[in-house]
């Protein structure tokens, strides 16, 4: 089943075109990794999918409905689409638990007890059972990002967008976050992931898309992209980022 289908997506800021002719289809249980240099349009693409940015051409269809139609209420779409940001963006004035139950309670109308129970289960699964009552500032970067992941998962979204969620973390903390993303992938969570972690993309992705100058230059299975890329641009990029 196709969860998300993007065709001919174009996005520009004034004269600067940041995404052009982007076609992308995401089926249920897919993990699509977007790779490419900084400024290649990975984050902008995710922001367009979440309707945080107005697109300039093309169609975004989510669960069979065109959500790029101006009449669609973006909040209704975002209720079924989770997003995690590079800088965690946890609310500093709320405890971890309250961060996680805010949307289920206020947006989805889940009773407090049920919301807290689900949040506690997810927090425990991510090794944060002890941290539910503390405020985000007391956590390490890795713990904060895991909490942000839990916050996005608490509303049980059909699609999870992860925007370079390990880019702000120390190398030693990257592993603990990616391990959880890997577990989510193994459970069949549908995800679109912008990442700089090539080893992760290779291991977890069902499909890898290489973006360059706002275009998906090449997409395919991780094996195809990492071992036998067709395009010269992809080869250049991989030479620079892969060790050896």
């Amino acid at each position: 089943m196709t969860v998300l289908e993007v065709t001919g997506l174009r996005k520009s800021y004034a004269d600067k075109v940041v995404l052009r002719d982007v076609d992308l289809a995401v089926d249920a249980h897919d993990v699509v990794c977007l790779i490419g240099a900084s400024g290649s349009g990975k984050s902008t693409l995710l922001r367009c999918l979440n309707l945080l940015e107005k697109i300039d051409d093309g169609v975004i269809a989510f669960e069979g409905e065109e959500v790029s139609d101006p009449r669609v209420d973006p909040r209704r779409v975002r209720q079924r689409m989770g997003m995690v940001f590079q800088a965690y963006n946890l609310f500093p004035h709320l405890s971890v638990l309250d961060n996680c139950t805010l949307a289920p309670r206020r947006v989805h109308g889940v009773p407090r007890q049920d919301a807290e129970q689900r949040a506690r289960e997810l927090l425990a699964r991510c090794g944060l059972a002890e941290k539910a009552e503390v405020h985000p500032d007391r956590l390490s970067g890795g713990q904060q990002q895991r909490a942000a992941l839990v916050r996005a998962l608490c509303t049980a979204p059909t699609l999870l967008l992860l925007d370079e969620i390990t880019a702000a973390l120390d190398p030693e903390l990257v592993g603990e976050v990616l391990q959880i993303v890997g577990e989510l992938a193994a459970d069949g969570t549908t995800m679109v992931v912008a990442t700089h972690e090539m080893a992760f993309a290779r291991e977890v992705a069902t499909r890898v898309c290489f973006l360059d100058e706002g275009r998906i230059v090449e997409q395919g299975t991780p094996e195809a992209i990492f071992t036998a890329p067709r395009e010269e641009r992809t080869r250049q990029f991989l030479r620079r980022v892969l060790p050896g």
């Binding site: 001919g8 174009r10 075109v17 052009r20 945080l52 300039d56 051409d57 093309g58 169609v59 790029s68 139609d69 101006p70 009449r71």
Partner: protein, 281 residues
């Protein structure tokens, strides 16, 4: 390489335009009807004819205008003199409260007492106390003019408020800024002068302007010591002619003065928000 928008996109643009047009139509209709209801509500009230005669008489507005305008010059003079003095006093007191040197402890204590005391006293009482009290002391070498002491009262009262605004601004600057300034070898004073205060001032401009709008109105308080400002002139006219139109006229004077400042405050606030949050959405 040329780009032609797809038919789908052209349709979407038309739809967006239509939706935009529809929301501006709703906005205008709602606004016009709300204001119409308000105006009709007031005008159709049973007492409106006498209210109009008593508060909105064109004749009395024209008659009272020159005297009020003359008085208003006093209000303008008061706040033009008071504003720079308040800024200097407020910043000095805020900085004194931030001082950490043991030698400056008495200054710090004085600054705390000053803000606590003068923020707590109603401005009108300060004007009375200073305006009537100080000249009565009969000190030599001290000006005895009511205008001078009314000005001092306004400066002292608002200086305490503004000091707190500056202090809030200074304390809102992230400690990492102080740390990096000190890591460069700047002294505490230099850190304040070159790093903290410039950022703090930028941040507190909107609340400062807010205080100044308030000050413009509070210049009217000097009438309690008998200074013939615009409000005093209006009251005088009203009492003499049994018509309160002069009060409405003087209110208009203040509005004409404060609205541009309010718009400036909004604009500055928006500019700061755009600059500080650009790229961090």
């Amino acid at each position: 390489m040329s780009y032609e928008p797809s038919v789908h996109e052209l349709n979407r643009r038309r739809l967006r335009r239509r939706l935009r047009w529809r929301s501006s139509l709703i906005a205008s209709l709602v606004t016009v009807s709300v204001f119409a209801v308000l105006v009709i509500g007031v005008v159709s009230s049973p007492g409106w004819p006498s209210v109009r005669e008593y508060f909105f008489s064109g004749f009395h507005a024209r008659e009272s205008f020159p005297e009020i305008a003359r008085g208003f010059l006093k209000n303008i003079a008061l706040f033009l003199m008071a504003e720079p003095l308040i800024l200097v006093l407020g910043l000095a007191v805020a900085l004194a409260r931030q001082a950490r040197s043991p030698w400056l402890t008495p200054v710090r204590v004085l600054a705390v007492i000053y803000t606590d005391l003068f923020r707590g006293i109603p401005t009108i009482l300060l004007v009375l106390l200073l305006g009537f009290g100080v000249p009565a002391l009969g000190l030599s070498g001290v000006p005895n003019s009511l205008f001078f002491w009314a000005l001092v009262a306004l400066v002292l009262s608002y200086g305490a408020y503004v000091a707190e605004v500056f202090r809030a601004g200074i304390e809102s600057i992230h400690p990492s800024q102080v740390a990096s300034a000190q890591a460069l070898g700047l002294t505490r004073g230099q850190t304040m002068r070159y790093v903290v205060v410039p950022q703090a001032v930028r941040r507190v401009v909107p609340p400062l302007l807010n205080d100044f709008v308030s000050l413009q109105k509070d210049t009217a308080l000097v009438l309690v010591v008998g200074i013939f400002d615009a409000v005093n002139a209006a009251q005088d006219y009203s009492n003499y002619n049994f018509n309160d139109t002069a009060i409405v006229v003087v209110a208009c004077f203040f509005i004409v003065l404060t609205i541009p400042l309010a718009r400036l405050t909004d604009w500055l606030q928006r500019r700061v928000a755009e600059r500080e949050r650009s790229g961090a959405r």
